[in-house]
Structure formats: structure tokens, C-alpha cells
Amino acid sequence: MTYLAKSPWIIHYDASSCNGCDIEVLACLTPLYDVERFGIINTGNPKHADIFVVTGSVNEQNRQVILNIYNQMPDPKVVVAVGICACSGGVFRECYNVAGGIDKLIPVDVYVPGCAARPESIIDGIVTALGVLEEKKKNNVHSAEAADQRDLRGQGQLQGGAE
């Protein structure tokens, strides 16, 4: 058991969520669920975070933001997609402006479905993520810098990317 599992700091980003899942994520921090008792802190800084919690799906406005947050997080790191929109795009997946779930852009480790995801299942998802986090630490996984595959296709060359 490493210290990683005892002190997971999360960064929460609202991609294009309807705020339903965001409210449930924040509910986890209230006295009723109080995730801080597991050492979980909601930081606002990707450089301090271990777990990237994303709600909502990928669209044109947030592609760069998601990539930027993910790439700024130090290893080992895991991504938790909270809510069905973050998992697959949900009811919005056919929309002209929605690319789909978060895994279209960055590697997702844990999927927490639900509309909106219940606080219990969010906490369960984060606890599952802790296992992944420990495994990544044990195997010394170095996450590759994520780049926007769509941009790469557009340019017809494999260079540049998000930055």
C-alpha cells in the first residue's frame, strides 16, 4: 500500500455537463458524504492533482482545455469520467457539436455511468481509480502526452498536437 491511495487529490473539470453531475461531485464534499475523511481534496490546480474527474462530453469549446489539464498533471495520474455524457456522450452523442465521451480525447481509466451519477457511485469510482493509481505507480507507468488526434489528421502529419 502506497501513500497514493491515502491522499488522492482530485481536479474536477466540467466539460459540457448540464451541471447535474457537477452538483453530485460537489455533494461528495458536503458533510453528508465528506470525502475529505479519505484524504480526498478537491484542488483547483492540475499540478497538484492525482485524479482528473471530468463531467460532460467533449465539444469544440473544451478539447484544448481537457488536453491542457491532462498534460499538466504529474504522473502517476488517472482519469475518471463521471456521468454518462463523459462516458459516451450520452443523449448528446449525436449532436453536431459533440465529439463523444472523454475517451475520444484522453485515456480514461474509470467510467462512472449515471444521469446524474450518484455521489455513492462517484465515490466508488474514485476508490476504483485509487487501485489503478497504485498499479500505475507499481509499474512505473509514464503517461504519454495527449494530443488532439483530430488536429493531427487535419494536418496530415504527426507533429505539433495540443501545445
Binding site: L4, S7, P8, H12, T43, K47, P74, D75
Partner: protein, 282 residues
């Protein structure tokens, strides 16, 4: 004593931070993390990748730790109070320099606010040293430590002023303007914005050193009665936690103005009264 401080202070400081978080949680009607949580946090940070924008940041953060440990060691070895204060300021300046070294607007805002904090509390810290000298006739911590003079009764104004800036020094609301220990979700994580992993862990450890040093300062006010000193430190720290929890963050202008005003009023008046009572002889 100096070696003991360097080795033991992080343990005590970490426990104080843990108790702080537990008490805070209970005040907010939560269960709160384990008392050992700060140690888990730092342990975790040392397991992470050390991603920095500028390698110089690491140098500055190491200087920050070393000078803070040096300050505390000097204090607990019974050194000169003025030298302690200068070393403490130097240490703080290294933290601000580290934040300036990264080319990031958020980090720079944090560094500027850190400098403003230093500006806010520094006059009162120096007045504290002067007050200690007036009360006990010595700048040496070793002499003040064993004095039979009830220091807090001789310089009550300076004591109040010191408690006021203690809130700034411990980075408690309403004066947590450069960075905060709370789980505020904020873009500006102040001076620590551009630090991650082991460097951030070192900053945490330095905070623990600093906490113990500040509690040592409080001890000096009650040095003639150790039992009272321990009780006073506990009560004052709980008071700081209460202040932290019932206040929102205020603007930096208020921090600087009010800290200087307090230093001017209680500090200078206290010294002036002592001067006139002693008939002009210090």
C-alpha cells in the same frame, strides 16, 4: 536543541496540521481525515513526478526549507532573536523567488501576495523582538526562555499584536492571501501553483517547521510558567482555527493596513508606556 528541532519539528508540525484539519472538519460538521493525513499527503507528494517549469524553482524551494530549519534551529538553540527574524524573512523571500522563477501569471500573483504578507507582518515581528528586549533585557532566546519576568504582562500590547499577525503567518483566513491550506477550489493556488510532487512536499514540511517556530515564539511570552505556556499555546491555536473557520478571505489591502495599524497602535503604545514608566531609561 538545534538538532532536536530539525528532527522533531516536522513530526510535531505535521501532527498540529493534522489536528488542525480534524478540528476544522468537526467545526463544519464533518468527520474529517485522520490526524496523520498531512504525513500521508507529503508521503504521496514524494511518490509523484517532480514536474517544474524552471529547474531554479527546485533550488529556491530547497533554500526555503534549509533556511526555515536554520531559523528554527537558531531559535531553539537559544540564539539571537533578531538573527532569527532575519533568517525567517530570508526563508520567506526564497519562497517568493521560487514562485517568481516560473513564468506563470498565477504563480506571480501568489509571489506578489507573499511579499505583501511579509510586508504586513514584518513590523510587528520586529516590534516583538524589541518588546522582548525591553521586558527581559536580552535579545537572546536562551535568556528569555529562562526569565522569571512574566513577559506577557509586561508587553500585553505586543502580545496582542503578535497574535494578530500569527493569523497571517499561519496562512489562516481572513489573511490566507498568498496561498491557503484549505481545499478551496481556486485557480490561483498562490505561491504553490507551479510546484508539484516532491517540491510541494518540501513546502509542506517547511510549513511544519514554521508552525513549530511560531509556537516557540508564543512560548516566550509565557516562558516563566511552562504549564501556562502550554495551555496558552493550545488555546491560541484553537482560536486561530476558529478565526480561520468563521472568516472569509479579505483583500490584501486590509491585511497590510490592519497589520500595520495594529503594530503601530498596540506595539508602539506598549513600548511608549514602558518607556515612560521606567522614567526614560530602557
Amino acid at each position: 536543541m538545534a538538532v532536536v528541532f530539525v528532527l522533531v519539528a516536522p513530526v510535531i508540525g505535521g501532527l498540529v496540521a493534522g489536528i488542525d484539519r480534524k478540528v476544522t472538519a468537526h467545526m463544519q460538521g464533518r468527520v474529517g481525515p485522520s490526524v496523520l493525513q498531512p504525513f500521508y499527503d507529503v508521503g504521496k507528494l514524494f511518490e509523484k513526478e517532480n514536474a517544474v517549469v524552471n529547474e531554479t524553482q527546485i533550488f529556491y524551494v530547497i533554500c526555503y526549507v534549509i533556511f526555515m530549519a536554520f531559523t528554527g534551529a537558531l531559535f531553539f538553540a537559544g540564539g539571537d532573536l533578531l538573527l532569527v527574524i532575519f533568517a525567517l524573512t530570508l526563508s520567506q523571500v526564497f519562497l517568493a523567488l521560487g514562485a517568481f522563477a516560473a513564468y506563470s501569471p498565477y504563480s506571480h500573483v501568489g509571489a506578489e501576495r507573499e511579499l505583501l504578507q511579509i510586508m504586513a507582518y514584518e513590523p510587528m515581528v520586529i516590534l516583538t523582538a524589541v518588546g522582548m528586549f525591553v521586558a527581559t533585557g536580552s535579545f537572546n532566546v536562551a535568556d528569555i526562555w529562562v526569565t522569571s519576568v512574566p513577559v506577557v504582562l509586561v508587553i500585553p500590547g505586543i502580545f496582542l499584536g503578535f497574535v494578530y499577525i500569527l493569523t497571517i503567518k499561519l496562512r489562516k483566513s481572513p489573511f490566507d492571501i498568498s496561498t491557503s491550506h484549505h481545499a478551496h477550489q481556486e485557480i490561483v493556488k498562490g505561491v504553490t501553483t507551479e510546484y508539484s510532487g516532491p517540491s510541494l512536499g518540501l513546502i509542506e514540511i517547511t510549513h511544519w517547521y514554521e508552525t513549530v517556530l511560531l509556537l516557540g515564539f508564543l512560548w516566550l511570552f509565557f516562558g516563566w510558567n511552562p504549564l501556562l505556556a502550554v495551555a496558552a499555546i493550545i488555546v491560541l491555536y484553537l482560536l486561530e482555527i476558529l478565526i480561520d473557520n468563521i472568516n472569509a478571505r479579505l483583500r490584501w489591502q486590509f491585511a497590510v493596513k490592519s497589520a500595520w495599524l495594529v503594530a503601530l497602535i498596540v506595539g508602539i503604545i506598549n513600548l511608549a508606556v514602558l518607556y515612560f514608566l521606567s522614567g526614560g531609561a530602557p
